[in-house]
């Protein structure tokens, strides 16, 4: 159980830092709201109805603010060689992955907690029970892409172009969950029967399982000296 305990300790450390200065959360939330505004202003109100645009905007917001959150996780450790200090701890290397992944997922969920209601407000989404399902889809997608993102961020943070490289590496891996999530949420909001969602849910679940396992497996190679 040392793995789980070590992972939770690392995640709590990250979240505590975040709770003290709130830089990442504040930045990511502001960014998420701005992304939504960009879509609103880049739209010709007479030609594109808000309702048509709404699901796409939600998923793009999730992806882009997810990138902002993920970038932060390992850049934090670069100062004062903090990563080396963590690696000295007598815990499995994969604990660092699970800890970082947990913290990143929690932060993305935190961003969603604010960006989601804002999205409902801005895009005149009719409050309905199906929205809980959409939120669930967003979390399901976030679980998988933060796994790939945590792995990539650990690599890009050690290069000179971290902020530039992470989106380039990660965005292609966001496409399957984004695609499945957007398709499923459009059907959910239109009140389609569950059978039409099942295929997309399976893809999301498969993606989560595959990339969580793979990222956890590859991560120790990335941080080892």
């Amino acid at each position: 159980m040392t793995l789980v305990r070590a992972a939770i300790a690392i995640a709590l450390k990250d979240l505590r830092i975040e709770a003290r200065n709130r830089t990442a959360l504040l930045t990511a939330v502001t960014f998420a709201v701005l992304v939504q505004l960009v879509f609103l202003f880049a739209r010709e109100p007479g030609a594109v109805r808000l309702g048509v645009l709404a699901p796409s905007v939600l998923w793009i917001t999730l992806a882009l603010s997810g990138l902002v959150v993920l970038n932060r996780g390992f850049l934090l450790e670069r100062e004062h060689a903090a990563l080396e200090a963590i690696l000295l701890a007598p815990v499995p290397r994969s604990a660092l992955f699970w800890g970082k992944w947990l913290a990143n997922t929690a932060l993305v969920a935190g961003v969603l907690a604010i960006a989601f209601p804002v999205w409902i407000l801005f895009f005149n989404v009719v409050p309905q029970p199906a929205l809980l399902g959409v939120l669930g889809l967003a979390v399901l997608a976030a679980v998988g892409f933060t796994a790939a993102g945590t792995l990539f961020a650990a690599m890009t943070a050690r290069t000179r172009y971290a902020e530039l490289l992470l989106p380039v590496l990660l965005l292609p891996f966001l496409i399957p969950p984004l695609f499945a999530g957007a398709q499923a949420s459009v059907r959910l909001l239109a009140g389609r029967p569950f059978g039409e969602l099942a295929g997309w849910l399976r893809i999301l679940a498969a993606y989560d399982v595959v990339f969580l396992m793979l990222a956890a497996l590859l991560f120790p190679t990335v941080v080892d000296e």
């Binding site: 290069t159 380039v168 891996f173 893809i203 590859l218």
Partner: protein, 231 residues
Amino acid sequence: MTLSADAATRAIRRGRAITLVALLLLAGLYVLALQFTPAERFQGLAQKIFYVHPPAAYAMQLAFFLTGVASILYLLMRDARFDAFAEASAEVGMVLGGIVVLTGPIWGKPVWGTWWTWDARLTFTVIELLVFAGYFALRGAIRDPGERAKFAAVAGIMGMLLVPFNHLTVYLFATTHPTPVVVQTDRPQLPAAMLRTFLSGFAVFTVCYVGFVMQRYGIGVRRMLEEARDA
């Protein structure tokens, strides 16, 4: 480190010879496709792309798959030769991918009526190319050869995992792409002359791949040796 300048020179020389053969075979394939294979009744001449486009797509998949395999081997054995091979194969894959996305629209315009469509297989081919563009961006951003090889291997393995997703989508999503029509038993078969040319295409592109990769591998090894000398 088991890199040697002699081996690099040998790989380049052999690769050059194989490439020469491959290019002659490619010219032969064009002659075979245009002169000795009947024209398709509905698609006419546009269908001739059929003898280049799918073979190039197959060779691209092969290239990216082998990059993934070499990446796994690198992480297991930490032999720089696997890194050099992974890089070479990925770069050849990019070129083959370029052929795929160039020949596709040329066929798509007369047959589908549009240059481009966001069809599943097309989309994921583009995604794959972007994944490996990221792979090269990552390589370019790291100075330390050991760290570069390690990180590139991780990215290569992740990229390879997107390939099965690619194939899956063709069957899962509505697609305008032809599903396999060549190897099937329950429906009318492809005429023998067309099948012969089609399969020749696959063979020719495999030889092209081998020739290109061997040369690029040799160049990669030389660069690594230069890098080690300058360091």
